[in-house]
Symmetry: C2
Subunit: 374 residues, 2 copies
């Protein structure tokens, strides 16, 4: 195995593949990146048990040579080290050669590295074949779906199913993504180009990584079977196991009718909550929203330190006098997810879940449960 490669493209590929490689693994060989040079280009494969990524660095991008002087072959090298080498060397092209089956020699003419390499047969078989239901989407639509839901999944492993985003298509032209940590819920509906029927509980953490990798890409293809989801785009395939178990039924959680409505500027609301939450010390991030015909205020207090209050200037409130307390981090995240200049908050009562929405966009729901008012 031997080749010369554009350093930047090599680094880009290594960075993508290594996202699936942890900093520790019970199986030492999985700390390596698998490199395969064949007629397609240089495939770089990283994997832990749950997540695998394969990305292909092509021979050419447009007219520009990316890989040259190629002699096919494959090997395993320490992922962290080779990525750091590709990052730090000064030259624009790297040469790579396997010597004696056990040493990878890498250099740019100035620096020269010899890394102990491992024969590719030592690496477990990674199945990246698409099986099951197929769906193609504009990557922008998929990114937005992730960004508007994945943050609301649980970060705690006590109930693993809540660390997933639930993707569900019921045989028609739509896909519904739902995430909840049981104190808040985010839901987004997107249109599918073809009718499809599937349910997949995908780790939210994986989707968030995919959302970053998809930045600036075109179309994305999903393949979903009962065990895993494959997401492929522009030379890269991400495969993630699904989380076992039934996702909780959240269909009837979101109220349909509300009694109280606040329309406000998103940035102003977020800025006020950030300032006021400075005084939420004993009960972390809890703030109170007090609304009436006379005005709208955000406030917080701490027995130990003091209190804070801020009037929301640019807003319109419809309803009786109402006070609702909540985790301001949750509400700020929901406001950001609306991705709009103004948001509407709709309430049923002091202790009932309330929604935050972009009045012009019916495709998503952000729901937050209040906390007891102090």
């Amino acid at each position: 195995m031997r080749f010369k490669i554009d350093r930047e493209q090599f680094l880009k590929g290594l960075t993508i593949a290594s996202k699936a490689i942890g900093s520790k693994s019970p199986i030492p060989v999985m700390m390596n990146v698998k490199m395969v040079l064949d007629e397609q280009g240089l495939s770089l494969i990283g994997s832990n048990n749950d997540l695998s990524i394969k990305t292909v660095v092509p021979y050419k991008i447009g007219e520009r040579d990316i890989i040259r002087d190629a002699q096919f072959g494959s090997t395993l090298v320490a992922s962290r080290i080779i990525t750091e080498i590709a990052r730090r060397v000064a030259g624009s092209e790297l040469s790579f050669e396997i010597i004696d089956d056990t040493i990878a020699q890498i250099g740019d003419g100035r620096s020269s590295f010899k890394l102990n390499s491992v024969r590719p047969e030592e690496y477990p078989e990674i199945d990246l074949d698409p099986t099951g239901v197929q769906v193609s989407l504009d990557s922008k639509v998929f990114i937005q779906m992730i960004d508007q839901t994945a943050f609301a999944a649980s970060g705690k492993e006590q109930r693993p199913i809540l660390t997933a985003v639930n993707l569900e298509a019921s045989g028609d032209y739509k896909l519904i993504a739902t995430a909840t940590d049981s104190a808040r819920l985010a839901r987004k509906e997107i249109a599918l180009p073809n009718p499809a029927k599937f349910v997949a509980n995908v780790p939210a953490r994986v989707l968030t990584e995919i959302s970053k990798l998809l930045e600036g890409e075109g179309m994305v293809n999903l393949s979903i079977n009962e065990k895993k989801i494959l997401v492929s785009f522009n030379g890269t395939i991400v495969s993630s196991r699904l989380i076992n178990g039934d996702y909780p039924n959240t269909k009837n959680i979101v109220p349909r009718n509300f009694n109280f409505f606040l329309e406000a500027n998103s940035l102003e609301l977020i800025a006020a909550m950030e300032r006021v939450s400075l005084l939420s010390i004993e009960r972390e991030n809890v703030v109170k929203l007090s609304m009436s015909d006379f005005g709208v205020e955000v406030s917080s207090k701490s027995a130990e330190v003091g209190s804070a209050v801020e009037t929301i200037g640019t807003c319109q409130y419809t309803g009786e006098r109402l006070e609702v307390s909540f985790n301001s981090d949750y509400v700020m995240a929901a406001i950001r997810a609306c991705q709009s200049e103004d948001v509407t908050m709709a309430f049923l009562g002091e202790m009932k879940p309330f929604v935050i929405k972009n009045a012009k966009d019916e495709s998503q729901v952000q729901l937050v449960t209040p906390v007891r008012t102090y």
Copy 2:
């Protein structure tokens, strides 16, 4: 106590004073900043047992009002909270008022905070009077002295004296600063405007903070007695206790004559060491410099991962063939401290301490002890 104050200047003062306030303290009242408004301006005082800082926000800067509507008084408020308030509120001016002796009301017309305040009598007396030997210096000279020495002090508390920078003036017109962690040593001599005689072991950590605060200032005044050092400049006084004990005698540690000399470009040498040290895995950061008439190389190796080697292009070596291994972090820090485009490394032998110096600057010495060659 009541005043209105320019938010940015208030924040700047709070940020300076709070550098002396830890995130925890066995004495809760020390978590407060002491605020005193009198004819001088607003004094902000922060302290832990070892370090105290007082900074004064003046009534005017040039023609511009910084503090207005002043009613003298003093109080204690939670340092972290008031600093965050000054950072986050949107207005350019803050109002501050003590109500009922126990509440500090702070606002910018939009946000309003009430902080529990503590009466100033609860705060311990902080002695910031200059006593002992007085020295005035250009702050640039003092900053350079710190930057070229403090990094070499020990970060470990086993031998507290080595966490200090030793400042010594022997009654003539010079001040010598020395720092060592026993594996390396940095020394810098600066000229004094008046003859002075003192010894002071100042915590390196404190000097590094002072160096940052001094950025862009004019003259700095030092007052040194047997217990403490006072550093004052432009409305700010920093007082630090000295570290007890005798500083080790390092006068004869630096060799006067050398057998081998390497002149090289500083940036190139640092870049090569950074790359090669990627493979210093089992012995963290150890690299080997191999020098002879045929060329100069930096290399490292790891039994587990592999090896790296890089040729230093732009350099000149004088002497017999020599190989020296060392902690590359130490040598890179010493090269940076030289603050010059080229450096000279001078050696006596494989296992003898060597120096890194700026050939044009006799005022400083950087000494590093080699490690056993593998």
